[in-house]
Subunit: 117 residues, 2 copies
DNA sequence: TTGCGATATGTCGAACTGTGCATAACCATG
DNA sequence: CATGGTTATGCACAGTTCGACATATCGCAA
């Protein structure tokens, strides 16, 4: 029996739109918070800027929440940072994610590893 | 703010192969158990027989576990049912899945719904 | 020994996703 | 007022996934 690893994925949806927020967008927000720009964030996460931009726009539109403060032009060409609400989302989702991560690991050991003897 | 729903997904992977077992294959096994054949199971789940067959073969090959007892030919043309191990997997994974489902709902209420006030 | 219905497996095409590329708009600074 | 780097956005192309087909095989029953 090969060694197994558990994986999980979390996301939020509305009645009409699937995936308005989730692990990917959460990581993106964190990267923006530490990098200072969407451009840099997408590079560190190795995601195309095109997708990163689309994902976040979708999240903001569907959640009807302003997560980002976008600035175009200027000395550095522009910048993006999190709003207060954006930071709250990162924090709350982080706790949510972390809790499920622990629960998953625990339940895996209890039910699956047990099954494998 | 639109109403949100949490979603989650669980799966198992080996070092080389992603998704050797997960929610889809678990549902498939259950359907086979109640339907008596892979063909019928794939129809009730609205999955192509081709995919269902491939998924289960992959699972058995990667887990190195015999989950199914396949029969070809005969009066009814053939049949597929779960082995003892197959039933154990269904049961164990069911508990695993159920536990995470509850944990997810709980953590969602605690962290995300709280955030939305 | 023929027929039926399920398993087994390859292949081609459609749908979906994400990347890459091309622009345009923007604006502090030199 | 020209420049550079970033946000914003459309579009075409590539990769992946899945479904629809097309066969082949199998074995009991009529």
């Amino acid at each position: 029996m090969k060694k197994l690893r558990v994986r999980f994925k979390l996301w939020l949806s509305t009645k009409n739109v699937e995936g308005v927020f989730g692990d990917g967008k959460w990581r993106l927000l964190r990267a923006i918070d530490s990098e200072g720009s969407l451009n840099a964030a997408s590079k560190t996460l190795r995601i195309s800027y095109r997708k990163a931009w689309g994902d976040l726009s979708k999240a903001e539109a569907c959640l009807n929440v302003t997560l980002l403060e976008r600035h175009r032009g200027g000395r550095m060409g522009g910048a993006t940072c999190l709003t207060k609400q954006g930071k709250e989302w990162v924090k709350a989702y982080g706790k949510f994610h972390s809790e499920i991560e622990k629960a998953t690991e625990k339940a895996y050991e209890k039910h699956i590893q047990e099954l494998l003897r």
